[in-house]
């Protein structure tokens, strides 16, 4: 037997289908006919009957083989015909769809725009989710076996000794690297550019599995303490931008924080650290002799300066690993007698690696989830809108469909045709939506903070759609097309042929009314949830804008410096700032000038233990925790904070003068009620066994310190001369309308300290605005979605209700013809027409009240059951529903009853 025989022999005896059995029967019949005829002819030629038959049979020889081959050919043919028919039908359905859409351009345009908006909103939000959570960062191999190691609740960093202990002793860790964010002044000449970099352990690149693009990474000696010669690995982006991709840079020296540093390598293209959104521009070894305040902190066992990223074998149990690491940490910490090694802040935490920093992952995830729900609702409302439009079209199309059915078109075939039309619509809308989303996300991707809260921080957002997002959009559009197309298609083809043929485009009967009632209810419910959600976001924004932070940001300009970048330490930084403040006070237009360690609302620095005259420490603790900051002379004047008692921080509070502190009113009222706070003392910032005592010299009004909606909290201001720091922000209150003397300030700073760079400059309004960014962003997106929702929901509720009522105009006509007063009839129509919207509103309200609890974390200053929002939403939609009922009812009542009746 040849090769062909095997190919056509049935391979596996599969159960045969009815179609296959019919094919085999036909082949059998054909062959039997042949045998009969041949045997007959042989007999006629004189061959005896039995031999004639045998010969005829034998001609087919292995007859099963021929039969099987023929049957296979036949089924192939059947399959080809089916495919061809499917294509033919598809082509004709598409042509029909295009024709019917171009015949109703108004409908097509409205439906496309509605759906395109919905799909664009969903694609954009999914792009954001993809950019923040799903997209892998370039250059990192096998991110699934990376873990992040921190301690205590809330991602606390660990110390260098603990990192070493983990690295050398943890059996389940293949390797672990440490890193810390650091500001780096990359100075080629006098104009250093400040970038955000990472200070990393030598094995950082190995743990991530990235390779150098040019040169090499750190050697064993360079990567371990104590520091060796200063070296740096440049990020590919910085190398391209600042050094024109010159490979000759490797091996040369550049100035880094004022120090000559050798460039040993450049990362591979795309690699900018393992943290999404915040791109690292350069990498230096831990404890590098490049000036940085972290050097001292690296020696402490209890400090929290390093974040760890570890490589584990596949399928490692993170909880077991955390237990093991906690034990190792306890072991190491108990070597120091003064430490309580069992304290909860030393318990190790292990998380799976994710590109987004741990502290923002949760809130960002929740935020994106809420937005997804909102835009999902928006799309659903769009779908209901279009479904309703299709339903009302199908009423007028019933005649056409009835004719087609009477001509023998099957129902399946017609449904397919109608679905093809809606899929066509959805895919066109999807294409438009994706274009819109491209535009929206590219605008978002370019977003930078107006004033960088961390020196050199640049946002690196990759939010534009990629293949995954495009797949999502296509799937979304297809699903959408089926959702809004299926019900109307089934409805359109289910009617009674005879009645439909008789009433060309007559009104719908009760079952259509019920379906549309359902749609009205669903539409109202969905719109209420959407609107109350986005309404709450908007209200939160309004309330945040009108909250009084307690300080006056108007006409205040800020300029940040960090002397760490020039090689100074905390101890010798203040003279620089003192001189800057002295000279800046004389610049034109400057009314008042001061400096502070932090911007208002930039988060809290807390210290403890702190003890106050006349108050015992809390039970079981050695003191209180106190939020505080260092400020220069004239700070309260510059920010418009009133001094209620005593005085503010002034020039006389020099470094060697008696230690003083200014407290806020809340602190004074809490610890010295009904007493003068001025003259009292508090102890804070113990250094070793020395307890430092500070005398209260003034009380200022209580302001907001970390959030606009925070409850009053205790707060203290220490003189920057006595609590100096390398990084401070100069605040300048300008005369109204005066331009900030930025150029003069830069020149002045450079004359005092040649490598000192002004890190960030801007109005305090803009700077404080950053801390409201989540609320603003939420309000903007929520408001935008809400506005579209209101538009679509309003149009939808009006359209559906009005259409539903107009279908009952015949009833109105009959009643009026029978003598009922038009007023009474309109009332009756209204009563019935408002039922579905009201039920929908009830359901929507209940759902919103449940859903708004999830918004609580994002809507500062507004109750999740905010009455203004809910009453507002209900009145807007209520008015829409009433209008939608009233207008067609009145129109029907005005029409001559005889005409209404005749149209039938």
């Amino acid at each position: 037997m040849g090769r062909r025989d095997r190919r056509f022999a049935p391979r596996v005896p599969l159960p045969k289908s009815a179609a296959r059995r019919r094919i085999e029967q036909d082949v059998d019949d054909e062959i039997m006919g042949h045998i009969e005829l041949k045997a007959r002819d042989l007999e006629r030629e004189g061959v005896p009957a039995d031999r004639a038959w045998a010969e005829a049979w034998d001609a087919f020889g292995r007859s099963t083989r021929v039969e099987a081959e023929c049957a296979t050919l036949q089924s192939q043919m059947a399959r080809r015909r089916r495919t061809m028919m499917w294509w033919e039908e598809m082509k004709s359905d598409l042509a029909w769809g295009v024709r019917s859409l171009t015949r109703a351009p108004g409908f097509a345009a409205f439906a496309t725009c509605t759906l395109a908006l919905g799909i664009a909103a969903n694609t954009s939000i999914f792009s954001v989710a993809n950019g923040l959570f799903l997209r892998a960062l370039p250059g990192i191999s096998n991110p699934e076996t990376l873990v992040e190691i921190s301690r205590g609740p809330g991602f606390i960093s660990v110390s260098y000794p603990i990192f070493e202990h983990f690295r050398d002793n943890a059996a389940s860790l293949e390797d672990v690297a440490a890193f810390d964010v650091i500001g780096l002044a990359v100075g080629v000449d006098e104009s250093p550019e400040v970038v955000m970099g990472l200070q990393v352990s030598g094995n950082y690149f190995d743990v991530l599995g990235t390779r150098p693009g040019v040169g090499r990474f750190f050697s064993q000696e360079e990567g371990t303490l104590p520091p060796s010669e200063p070296v740096v690995v440049l990020g590919h982006e910085l190398w391209t931008r600042r050094f024109d991709s010159d490979p000759g840079v490797v091996g040369s020296t550049i100035r880094l924080n004022g120090q000559l540093t050798t460039v040993v390598g450049v990362t591979e293209e795309g690699f900018g650290g393992h943290v999404a959104v915040l791109q690292s521009a350069a990498f230096i070894p831990l404890g590098s002799p490049i000036p940085s305040a972290h050097q001292d902190a690296l020696r402490s066992v209890t400090s929290g300066v390093l974040e760890l990223i570890g490589r584990v074998p596949p399928r490692t149990d993170t909880r077991a690993l955390a237990n093991q690491l906690s034990q190792l940490a306890r072991q190491r910490l108990s070597e120091e007698s003064t430490i309580d090694a069992n304290a909860p802040q030393y318990v190790a935490q292990v998380h799976r690696y994710a590109p987004l920093p741990g502290s923002v992952r949760g809130p960002a995830g929740a935020f994106v989830l809420i937005l997804s729900v909102l835009v999902g609702l928006l799309l659903l409302i769009s779908c209901v809108n279009v479904a309703n439009l299709l339903l009302s079209r199908s009423a007028t199309r019933r005649h056409e469909i009835a004719i087609r059915m009477s001509l023998g078109a099957g129902r399946r075939r017609l449904v397919r045709q109608l679905i093809t039309e809606s899929l066509l619509l959805a895919l066109i809308a999807g294409g438009l939506g994706v274009l819109l989303a491209y535009w929206a996300t590219s605008v978002l991707s370019a977003f930078q903070l107006p004033v960088a809260p961390i020196p050199g921080l640049r946002l690196d957002l990759h939010l534009t759609p990629n293949a995954l997002v495009l797949g999502y959009s296509v799937a979304l559009a297809t699903t959408t097309g089926i959702i809004f197309g299926l019900v109307p298609a089934l409805r359109a083809t289910q009617g009674d042929l005879v009645t439909d043929l008789k009433n060309a485009g007559g009104p719908n009967t009760s079952s259509g009314g019920r379906l549309q009632g359902l749609l009205v209810g669903a539409q109202v419910a969905g719109t209420i949830v959407l609107l109350s959600g986005s309404g709450l976001f908007l209200r939160a924004l309004v309330s945040a804008e009108t909250l009084d932070p307690g300080f006056d940001t108007g006409d205040v300009f800020v300029a940040g410096f960090d002397l760490e970048l020039t090689g100074r330490t905390n101890e010798n930084s203040w003279p620089f700032y003192e001189e800057v403040l002295n000279r800046a006070g004389g610049l034109p237009g400057v009314r008042s000038v001061s400096a502070a360690g932090k911007l208002p609302l930039a988060g809290l620095s807390q210290t403890g233990p702190v003890n106050f005259d006349g108050t015992e420490p809390p039970e079981g603790r050695d003191g209180f925790v106190l939020a505080n900051q260092s400020v220069g002379p004239g700070y309260f004047r510059t920010l418009g904070l009133s001094i209620l008692e005593g005085r503010g921080i002034e020039d006389l509070d020099r470094a060697d003068a008696p230690r003083v502190v200014v407290v806020n009113q809340h602190l004074a009222d809490r610890f010295w009620p009904n007493e003068r706070a001025v003259g009292k003392h508090l102890t804070a910032f113990a250094s070793g066994s020395d307890v430092l005592e500070w005398e209260v010299v003034g009380v200022v009004e209580t302001a907001k310190y970390s959030r606009l909606n925070e409850d009053p909290r205790i707060f203290a201001y220490f003189p920057a001369s006595q609590r100096p720091r390398t990084d401070m922000i100069v605040h300048m209150k300008m005369a109204a309308g005066a331009d900030p003397p930025i150029r003069a300030l830069r020149a002045m700073a450079a004359s005092l300290e040649p490598t000192a760079a002004v890190l960030s400059v801007g109005s305090l309004d803009a700077a404080v605005g950053i801390f409201m960014l989540p609320q603003r962003l939420g309000a903007w997106v929520g408001g935008l979605v809400g506005a579209f929702g209101l538009l679509l929901g309003g149009v939808g509720v009006y359209g559906i209700t009005a259409f539903w009522v107009s279908q009952r105009t015949k009833e109105v006509g009959v009643r009026i013809a029978l003598g009922a007063g038009s007023r009474k009839v309109v009332m009756a129509v209204m009563k019935r027409g408002m039922r579905a919207p009201m039920i929908g509103a009830g359901i929507g309200l209940a759902l919103s009240m449940v859903a708004s609890r999830f918004l609580e974390a994002f809507i500062f200053g507004v109750s999740p059951l905010d009455p203004v929002t809910f009453v507002g939403v209900i009145s807007v939609l209520g008015a829409t529903a009433v209008a939608a009922n009233l207008v067609p009812a009145l129109r029907a009542a005005r029409v001559d009853p005889a005409r209404t009746l005749r149209t039938d």
Binding site: E30, M32, G33, H34, F60, E69, Q76
Partner: protein, 112 residues
């Protein structure tokens, strides 16, 4: 008697089948008989080859089939040409003429 095993002849089997039904629909046995008679029994088409060839031609759209009755009154499948089949037959005939002329001219050539 030549059996249609030879690939050269087998290639022409399709052309023979198409030709046999160019005057009207025939069933499989009649097609086999027609070819045998026309070639004066020189070509005998084996049933095991004929039927797969017929079905393949049908699958490829060169033939179409309908069911009728043969002269014994049994249900039989009649084949006829489609437009595509007619076209194919014409091009096959032309091709045959060209190649046979070429072969003939080579075989009958005298020493040059």
């Amino acid at each position: 008697m030549t059996q249609v095993r030879d690939p050269l002849i087998r290639g022409t089997l399709n052309a023979l089948i198409l030709k046999s039904i160019s005057w009207g629909p025939l069933h499989g046995y009649a097609i086999a008989r027609w070819i045998q008679m026309r070639t004066d029994d020189a070509l005998k088409v084996e049933e095991g080859v004929l039927y797969p060839a017929l079905h393949r031609l049908e699958r490829d759209g060169l033939l179409q089939a309908h069911w009728g009755q043969n002269d014994t009154g049994r249900r039989a499948k009649f084949y006829s040409l489609t437009a595509l089949g007619t076209e194919h037959l014409e091009s096959e005939v032309a091709r045959w003429h060209r190649s046979s002329e070429a072969v003939t001219s080579v075989l009958e050539s005298t020493e040059a």
